[in-house]
Amino acid sequence: MIALENATVRFGSRAVLESLSVAVPIGRSLAILGPNGRGKTTALKAMLGFQPLDTGSRVAPKIVGYVPQSASLNQRYSVRDVVVMGRAAHLGLFGQPGPEDFDAASRALEHVGIAAFADWMFDRLSGGERQLVLLARALATGSEVIVLDEPAAALDLRNQERLLRLLTALRDERNRAIAFTTHDPNHAFAADDALLMMPGAETLCGPVDAVLTSDNLERLYGVEMRHTTITGPDGRTRNAILPAFAGKEAA
């Protein structure tokens, strides 16, 4: 479980988080949405423990699996060596990864479906593949909580689909708490709950079906939204929400 209770964070006089309470228990997942600059990343950092709270408290396990928006790593490590770094917390200051740590890394790579990449150099991979490697590293920590910072923001459609399927699959395993930020309401459907950081200091939190309505999203972004239904790749009908400016005027 990962949670913030009455968390307040101020930058100068501006309260970015105002008495925010949010909890993600094991077995559930949460999508965090909000306009630019509203404090999505601050909320995420607060959950991770990277952002000191002015008031309030944080509940989290010692290690939280974290997937940054993009890899800081531009050095020549193999994918396997990147993922095995997820074991660092179990090894301590002077510890060296052993066979069981490399096994854990291999399992994590299989989990995200990129076991074939294990021996490749990380810096040669595309952005989408790097994202999956970082997710594997977060899984390799063995933490029951995974936090992802805009995991799909820099990905093309093909890789967005891949990542969303993975997030949905992880959610459906029901043995972890997962939280991620996103700018795309339709990506939030890969979660159970959504936290909407509304303009001002208001927040809305609840199951995605209840919270992700076009009314709420219009207030969230200040843009008219439309509901639509589409046929998914499995032939089943899916609900989608699009901004009214999407598409091109029909002749």
Partner: protein, 354 residues
């Protein structure tokens, strides 16, 4: 595997690590052995390599035997301790540089960045100015190097945390201050007394190496190197972005200082016995990285071997090229500075190209 993944497979070819790394290590060990033997062999009084092995073998069997022959005394009392100290210093300085570059996530930093060398130089200059030699000089040099680091730590620590940029700038400040103090010491020194001694010492040289000096410097150099080697996997984690490293259970702002302290141990020990020998920690890790990659588990031993071989080779050149020995620090800087210039341009060209 899908078509796009196969396309990627051709781009990111598997990097076959073990056989290549083993070949590189074997090559580096052979080169180091050759350089060591050559270093003991050549000089104004050349000693045949086979004879060297014979002399060293006899001395190993009976360390306190009488050294009757001239070549025995040259090998055992002059060249062997020197070559061993040079090799140990080169290895330790290269490992320090590799570790610092990992922690700073920047291939352009070196032990000088932290102001340790300048602090140690100031201690040495003051000691010589006041006519202090021998073990007390070594102690003063060592302690002033450590206090420079402590000062950097104090300046860089703001609101309980120290950012990497602040550390580098603090190191520059402390280094500049100690450099000015060294100049002041030189200005005050008697040109007919300590001044030449200070200047020569600052240039960096292993010319006056004895077994005693080797044993004074060896513990700091060896312990520093061994502990950095023990940290090799942690260095991989510390070379990540700070938030990532923290999420993996590391405490970068604390653990970084452990690495700095070990580097201060190494640099202080080396400067104490042989003056300022710069640039090894910059040039060698870069060369090693080109050969074995960025993983500290392979980078540190490669840096160690290359650093030892490189510094012994340069030291051998320094004492054989001309009749009067050229201070080693001059040669390492003459080689190091242009290499640094090339690295700097390549590093930022790659960065701005992205």
């Amino acid at each position: 595997m899908s078509a796009s993944e196969e396309g990627l497979a051709s781009l990111a070819r598997p990097f076959v690590r073990m056989p290549r790394a083993v070949a590189i290590y074997v090559g580096a060990i052979v080169v180091l052995a050759l350089v060591l033997v050559t270093g003991v062999s050549v000089g104004r009084y050349a000693v045949d390599p086979v004879r060297i092995l014979d002399i060293v073998g006899q001395s190993l069997a009976d360390p306190f035997r009488d050294l009757a022959e001239v070549d025995e005394r040259i090998v055992m009392l002059v060249r062997l301790p020197r070559v061993l100290l040079v090799a140990l210093s080169g290895a330790a300085l290269a490992v320090s540089g590799a570790a610092l570059q990992g922690v700073f996530r920047n291939p352009l930093v070196s032990p000088q960045v932290l102001g340790i060398s300048q602090g140690a130089a100031f201690g040495g200059a003051m000691a010589i100015l006041f006519g202090i030699w021998g073990l007390p000089l070594l102690a003063i040099v060592f302690l002033s190097g450590l206090s420079a680091l402590a000062l950097v730590g104090f300046i860089a620590r703001i609101n309980g945390r120290s950012e990497i940029v602040t550390v580098i700038l603090s190191g520059m400040i402390v280094g500049a201050m100690f450099s000015a103090l060294v100049s002041l010491a030189q200005f005050l020194a008697d040109p007919n007394g300590p001044l030449p001694a200070i200047v020569y010492w600052l240039m960096g040289s292993f010319a006056s190496t004895t077994w005693e000096r080797l044993f004074v410097a060896a513990p700091g150099l060896a312990v520093g190197m061994i502990l950095l080697w023990a940290l090799r996997f942690r260095l991989n984690v510390l070379s990540l972005d700070e938030a990532e490293a923290r999420s993996l259970g590391a405490r970068p702002d604390v653990e970084r200082w452990l690495v700095f302290a070990l580097v201060a141990f190494i640099v202080g020990s080396q400067v104490a016995v042989s003056g300022i020998v710069g640039w090894i920690g910059l040039v060698i890790p870069h060369a090693a990285r080109l050969m074995v990659g960025h993983d500290h588990r392979t980078l540190l031993p490669a840096s160690m071997l290359l650093g030892a071989a490189y510094l012994v080779a340069v030291d051998t050149l320094a004492r054989t090229m001309t009749a009067a020995e050229i201070p080693l620090g001059i040669l390492t800087a003459l080689v190091g500075a242009p290499v640094f210039a090339v690295l700097l341009r390549n590093h930022y060209r790659d960065r701005t190209a992205k």
